[in-house]
Symmetry: C2
Subunit: 248 residues, 2 copies
DNA sequence: CGAGCGGTTGAGGCATGTCAAGAGTTGTGG
DNA sequence: CCACAACTCTTGACATGCCTCAACCGCTCG
């Protein structure tokens, strides 16, 4: 554990309000590790021994069944993931792998649960975080069941722009094949959808998204705060992709 | 509040371990109401003023967007619903309506949050419940994204049977159109799927499900504990339908 | 008895997945 | 520094899953 990491962790919603002694205890029992890109950190079904905190890099949470696989979310610094399994001491429901070289803090689940009982502010933070994760995935599921793929893509583009303060252009935070899987479609289908969306106010050039007609895009996406936010439900990510970066 | 209801509420995972004084306080600030069938209890977007506990009847949680609508889960006694919104003091993401005449306890969200801070055991129960709800809907989403509709139906039938101790026959807990929506398909498509499944070890006659060849059904459904359970993730329901009843 | 509703069935169409091939990009090792 | 391998992305052709619309049956309940 590098001492200079601590303040950054401390800034997280989850740890911000807790008692300093408890914070030190929690982190004192933790480990920091560096992982290369493409490493499987967690295999679904494994016991949840650690809460993970991404300090650097990026981690994909994904699910497998039979031969199929789908992206559930991507976690970027500084965020935690798989809180629910740690709290419950239950097997992970999702797998996790690094997308880039990453630095990750591992907090023993047992320590998490102990401190939860002894620090009320921490307990409040944990339950808020978890409720946020829950609401985040509820939104996600609503999108999957109520919108078709074109509408999901349009909503995603519009939401990203809104999160960036209405930016008319920005860079995708992940590669398209991953975005496709997150949105519940194939890469081929996403590719074709992007083409189709050019007639609806948004153009994509490589990794760059350019909103050419916001009103037209909104007419298609029909953004809804109960699906797309904005709403600080997930201070760290429950079931989302990271925000895009504004275009240089 | 009828005094005879209290022990039943007290039995819920959520309230079982808490301090008696705190329990009495919480319920003392609550209301009980009877609602006719088909009444909209909650409209998505409303502020979450109350945690709801279903004592009698049945409640459907559903989501709307544009003109479309889908069932997210059905809650039967004795279970709570929409814990996350109450904890967060955030707008409901789902609507709720009674499927039958129902008796429901309304616990003020503010009281919930106060007692959470003062009763550690209750806090532990709440966070466990919430983590269970989260895991439940993660399973649900995995099913939606990884399986096609026929596989989802087959898995559902198999899971119900397993929950009933391997019963070869049972009665559906909800009408088919609702089941279809829950599974993310149209009633027509479910109807056709049922027909197709007769060649795969399960027959449906009206509301009665009869498993004729468990192995064959399992070969199609490929049940997976990380999607289907069994796992006491949701002591009350996060995102499921109630269990079926064994056939008379 | 008639209206309304859930369920089923058929016909047809659109949305989405699958398979295959090729262009462009990136990363690596010689 | 270049060549190659691996990978993403795109495009086309095709198959199919799923939805939509419409009609009809049977049941329930006024």
């Amino acid at each position: 554990m590098r001492p200079e990491d601590l303040p950054e962790v401390r800034q997280l919603q989850l740890f911000r309000s807790m008692d300093t002694d408890k914070f030190d205890e929690l982190l004192g029992r933790s480990y920091v590790q560096n992982f290369p890109a493409g490493l499987e950190l967690i295999r679904q079904g494994d016991p949840a021994d650690f809460l993970h905190v991404v300090m650097d890099g990026a981690v994909e949470l994904y699910a497998k069944w039979g031969g199929r696989e789908c992206t559930m979310s991507v976690v970027r610094p500084v965020s935690t993931f798989i809180l629910a399994a740690s709290i419950r001491n239950a097997p992970y429901l999702m797998s996790a792998r690094t997308l880039e070289r990453s630095r990750i803090i591992l907090i023993p689940s047992a320590a998490l649960r102990e401190v939860f009982r002894r620090d009320t502010e921490f307990a409040v933070s944990v339950v808020n975080e978890l409720a946020g994760c829950y609401r985040s995935i509820v939104r996600n599921t609503k999108g999957l069941k109520l919108r078709n793929s074109r509408e999901r893509v349009a909503s995603y583009f519009l939401r990203q722009s809104t999160l960036l303060g209405g930016a008319p252009s920005y860079v995708l935070p992940v590669e398209k094949r991953l975005l496709a899987s997150y949105l519940g479609m194939t890469p081929e289908n996403l590719s074709r959808t992007l083409r189709a969306l050019e007639a609806h106010g948004v153009k994509v050039d490589g990794m760059r998204v350019i909103i050419t007609d916001r009103a037209r895009l909104a007419a298609l996406a029909q953004p809804d705060t109960l699906i797309d936010g904005p709403d600080p439900d997930a201070s760290t990510n429950g079931s989302t992709l990271p925000e895009a970066r504004a275009r240089a």
